[in-house]
Amino acid sequence: MTLAHEMEEAARVAHELRVKRDQRARMGRLLKHLFLISVSIVMLYPLLWLLASSLKPENDIFGSLTLWPTEFQWHNYVDGWHGLPVSFTTFYINSTIVTVLSVIGNLISCSFAAYAFARLQFTGRTFLFGLMMMTLMIPYHVVLIPQYVQFLRLGWVDTYLPLVVPRFLASDAFFIFLMVQFFRQLPRELDEAAMIDGCSPFKIYWAIILPLSLPALGTAAIFSLIWTWEDFLAPLIYLNDIKSYTVPLALRLFLDQEGQSSYGQMFAMSVLSLVPVVIAFIMFQKLIVRGIATSGMK
């Protein structure tokens, strides 16, 4: 009788505890969501502003703080697309070519270099690593002109080569350093075991390091894609023919600080220019997530 009672009592207490814990967990999750949602609003404000501005009449963009347009100018999107001497279809194709090639180039060449720096012993490693870091530190604007002269001599100006070729030659040290940090985190026993099995360094790179570094590669791919898509200075300097312009360059054609601008159309096209990047972001994000499954296996 007492025993049964005690057991009942214990079960009741246990149940209460569980309910309390669940409640606390639920409360915690709720708080977390509340926090994240309020942060999200702050984060989303500029996008909402951009969206609103793309739909406002021209003289409403600067005068009023309210986001809601007095009159919806949906035509900004259609007009903007055809608002320049060359249609945005061309600019999107150009940007896509440059971006796709750059991402591929970056991933291949930077992961190569990073693998050497992170996993292989060789003479001159520290020195070369230092040189690589130096390329990150120099302000870009002072190498702009020597670089321009160099590409001019190669006859590459007014082509996409200056934008793309350096990417295949690991020009962006950011990605090398990023991958180095991730590659170094992988256990050394992996390579050692593979080496004993007679794997070549390339095999180790390809079959072990890369698959285990998907989060890092995904991150590098996202950044590389976004930064190339948004890059403005290099296309400005190297592209002359408006038919070869990329999207960010084209966006600058809408504005004339000193004269007639088309802000509404510019904002509309800015909104559209974000669409491919957001889609790509969501796609590559999966790579980062998939990384967990793989690293969980080790």
């Binding site: 994240l36 350096p166 170094r184 985190q185 800015s270 990384g291």
Partner: protein, 310 residues
């Protein structure tokens, strides 16, 4: 020892040397080509130009150390630019990193909607330093702007943040914090690399959460924290676009947004002093290099790599 026997020894040493280094250099080939054929030339050229007077129209004229001398002895705006930039680095880098790490840890665990949040939190970074941001920022932080309207609800009388030289720099720090997307993403990728069973084991042992953070998360995340710290510091020193675009390229008001690179850019492209600008660039390079070197040296004490652990 006879002469004959050293030769094969030397040869075998060479063979081993090559065997040891060949794979690494094979992997490094693209980078080596890029560095020595494309990157190094312009870098050395800018070093040379820093000792010249060069207006970009006529050939550079050698002036020795004159540029550096002018910079350190007579150029008030150079010191102003340094001051602005150092203040910004000291404020923006920690603020952004803490923000990014905090949000990344919140997002790392447990929530089903995490992908959505991640995308939302990255959005401000997508807007980068576009013209839209410049216009928006001026509207947000104007005397009659949105920020003050919000503050007004709480009875706070706000200032003209962006046009007051005392506060304008802080609006850029806020911008930096708000665009924390890229370090956040890198932190997330790093957090994904930490084996979950470590936390499970700690949970079973009853280790409190904050100790899990200091004992598991921080040490294993150290390489990524280190990366973000170094890179964010470098980037902060080189901050250009946001300051340039928000101040319409001038560093106004009253030079309070005169970031080092904005000054450098104006010297080069607006005032035709590419030689002087190159000298400015090399001084900045040395400053950044010192900071980076310090980071690397101290990292021995707090960053440990899995593949170098015994």
């Amino acid at each position: 020892m006879s002469r004959g026997s050293t030769s094969p020894l030397k040869a075998s040493f060479m063979r081993r040397f090559i065997a040891r280094n060949a794979p690494a250099y094979a992997f490094l080939t693209p980078w080596l080509l890029g560095f020595f054929l494309l990157a190094l030339g312009p870098i050395l050229a800018s070093l040379y130009l820093s000792f010249t007077r060069y207006d970009m129209v006529n050939a550079p004229k050698w002036v020795g150390l004159a540029n550096y001398e002018y910079m350190f002895t007579r150029d008030r705006r150079f010191w102003k630019a340094l001051n602005v930039t150092f203040t910004y680095v000291a404020l923006a880098v920690p603020a952004r990193l803490i923000m990014a790490l905090g949000v990344a840890m919140l997002l790392d665990k447990g929530l089903r909607t995490i992908g959505l949040y991640r995308a939302i939190f990255y959005l401000p970074s997508l807007l980068g330093a576009s013209i839209a941001i410049a216009i928006l920022w001026r509207q947000l932080f104007a005397a009659d702007g949105v920020v003050n309207a919000v503050l007004g609800y709480f009875g706070i009388q706000g200032a003209a943040w962006i046009t007051n030289p005392d506060t304008s720099l802080y609006t850029l720090v806020v911008l930096a914090m708000w665009q924390f997307g890229s370090p956040m993403l890198i932190f997330l990728a790093g957090l994904r690399g930490i084996p979950k069973d470590l936390y499970e084991a700690a949970e079973i042992d009853g280790t409190p959460k904050w100790r899990q953070f200091t004992r598991i998360t921080l040490p294993l995340l150290a390489p990524v924290i280190f990366f973000n710290l170094v890179l964010q510091t470098i980037e902060a020193f080189k901050t250009f676009s946001s300051a340039f675009i928000i101040s319409n390229g001038t560093g106004a008001p009253a030079d309070s947004l005169l970031f080092y690179t904005v000054y450098l850019f104006n010297e080069a492209f607006k005032f035709f002093r590419m030689g002087y600008a190159s000298a400015l660039a090399w001084v900045l390079l040395i400053i950044i290099a010192i900071f980076t070197a310090i980071s690397f040296l101290t990292s021995k004490y707090w960053v440990h790599y899995e593949n170098e652990r015994d």
